[in-house]
Subunit: 383 residues, 2 copies
């Protein structure tokens, strides 16, 4: 499963000692070929961690042989020394695999503003290389966890080819809650351009529409590596759809494991004048702290939905807005609709539908509720 579900990949996950609690904290994914095509999507935060800057550089030629990932430290806001450490990590992997450092992407996650313990990380690379295996995907997925309660993997298999992947974090690409790291692999024979198109299309519709707490990480990284080991070159549409499915699956797992969350909230914006309008409105609803508290309290407080819609620049008339919560149209024409007492909010999944009555476009954004557990977890994170 995970990154080793597709043929032509080995992986490992080990404890290098970067995390003080001794949990696994270093993962390695290696493309054994025959192809080395790759694509990546990174955080849009202008404050980018050293590994993001590095990986963007090495991906410029559309090729990657290996990805090394660590939890236990983000290596963000660490200055020139932080970048040197990322470079040294890539060099160490390259040396052990007898490849060039320019074939090695690096991803890091953890606290910002702290240098990585290189005296532990570099020996860890040797240990990870020694444990590389075609069955190492699960261990790699475990090693990239930070506050994740479970590791996340997904696989889609088609006629003779496979797309698989692993993810950590609980958020979205831009913005993202905690750092989101994703590595996807495929044995389909797709070139860098095809990978890039499929990956951008998939992230736009999946990770970019998962918004846990509106905060954007300095480290978000999504990589897609193709080994070509299946010998099959699928139609671009079919390939893109498989990548989207894996991303969608992982995105749902991220939101389901969001820090402190007790509700998964599916916000569907319908009848928007444009898809951009639908996404803008969905995100505004997803980021409304008052609404997220209300959902936590199982309170179908549709006024807070309208209040969030009203802050956007989307096309709509206030007196034509309709809102349903779990199928009950509690707001009709911008005013009181069906009885809010009819809304059953006992279950973990909550569905909010916002009808803008302004067109035919739609979008779905996923978020979660705001809870005291979120506050507790994030007020004690670095101390």
């Amino acid at each position: 499963m995970s990154v080793t579900a597709a043929k032509g990949f080995t992986a490992a996950g080990i404890a290098a000692g970067i995390k003080q609690n001794g949990n696994p904290d270093l993962a390695l994914v290696v493309n054994t070929g025959p192809r080395r095509a790759a694509a990546g999507v990174f955080t849009s935060n202008r404050v980018k961690a050293a590994p993001v800057l590095w990986s963007q550089q090495v991906l410029a030629d559309g090729e990657l042989t290996a990805v090394v990932l660590n939890s236990g430290g983000a290596n963000a806001c660490t200055g020139p020394k932080g970048f040197q450490d990322t470079h040294a990590t890539a060099e160490k992997v390259a040396e052990a695999l007898e490849i060039g450092a320019g074939e090695v992407a690096v991803a890091s996650t953890g606290l910002i503003g702290v240098l990585l313990p290189m005296d532990k990380l570099l020996p860890g690379v040797d240990k990870a290389v020694a444990e590389l295996s075609e069955h190492g995907g699960e261990k790699a997925a475990i090693a990239i966890k930070t506050t994740d309660t479970v590791h996340k993997t997904a696989v889609v298999t088609q006629d003779g080819w496979t797309v698989g992947g692993m993810a950590k974090g609980a958020g979205m690409l831009a913005p993202g809650l905690a750092t989101m790291l994703v590595v996807l692999t495929t044995d389909a024979d797709v070139d860098a351009k095809g990978l890039d198109e499929a990956l951008r299309q998939a992230t736009r519709l999946t990770f970019d529409r998962v918004d846990s707490d509106g905060c954007m990480s300095t480290n978000d990284t999504v990589l897609l590596l193709a080994s070509g080991a299946s010998g099959v070159t699928p139609a671009q549409d079919a390939f893109a759809e498989a990548v989207r499915q894996v991303c969608d699956d992982l995105g749902r797992q991220l939101i389901g494991d969001a820090e402190g969350a007790s509700k998964d909230i599916r916000i569907e914006v319908i009848n928007a004048a444009s898809e951009d309008d639908a996404v803008e409105v969905g995100r505004s609803i997803a980021r409304n702290n008052l609404l997220k508290c209300a959902i936590h309290g199982e309170d179908p407080n549709w006024g807070r939905v309208l209040s969030a819609i009203g802050t956007t620049s989307a096309a709509f008339e206030p007196d034509r807005l309709n809102v349903a919560i779990n199928g009950v149209w509690v707001c009709r024409n911008g005013s009181v609709g069906e009885d809010r007492e009819l809304v059953d909010m006992r279950y973990r999944e909550v569905a909010i539908t916002a009808d803008l009555a302004a067109g035919a476009e739609s979008a779905v954004i996923w978020t979660n509720d705001l809870t005291a557990d979120y506050v507790h977890e994030n007020s004690a994170y670095s101390s």
Copy 2:
């Protein structure tokens, strides 16, 4: 004090029975002249409550004689009936005071999407009119409270003239946490144009820079009424400064009473290329849930400050950013600065300074921390 500190005003605050707990819920402020000049600033939310739509209309001529305010119901998203109720409230006040309804502004605060109990509100108007007094300012300030733990008033007196006011809520004009209602009065002889200029300038620098939870209300209203009873026409600059001082005082009281807050956070952005950049960066920091949780936990997590700055379009270079928390420059040149252990965060007020190293402009934004109490209060509000 409050709205009756200036000469030429009477006020009252009574319990009309709109709130089920029997607390005061109806306030009336009357300008007894000789002048009736007025100005107003309202929420920029496109979903506006009926009283906002009404008050914007009646203010078009720059004159107001009375303001009636109720807590216990926002009369927002209540359709044509809600607007009729606001109109009927103004008519009732007008009838009792023997003036026109077009001289009466209306403001409401409370739950969105619920019609007001007019059978209680209208008799309440008679009761309030009967209790109008030159000493009624305090009672009026008490009657507009919702989740406020204290009522908020402020007064500035100059050479022969006074500006006073009352406020409820905990947030900002655009956006605002809970509804923010403010009524300011002055006995200075200033025309509507002078009032409007002073009020817009003041709100831009005060209420617009208080951001408790990034949520924008449907009801936010700030009114300024001038009676001219002092017979003094101050210089516009002096008058504007007095209005700014009163707004600043009330704004600080709002943030100090924000729902569930345990820390007041003063964010100063310095060396920005423009004031707009400084405000954008300040707001982005103020709305970062992860940072607000960290401050709650007394954790000087400057990485979250950089992460918030990185989401803006302001001019800056990531490796030139500096951040101080309570005077300790924990981030220098986008990287680790002074020892974070030196930061003392035991006190309620926390000062964050973000140095963009990109110019000479600055701005101060106030916010508060994100706490479990905020979640509790807002998950149980309407139930």
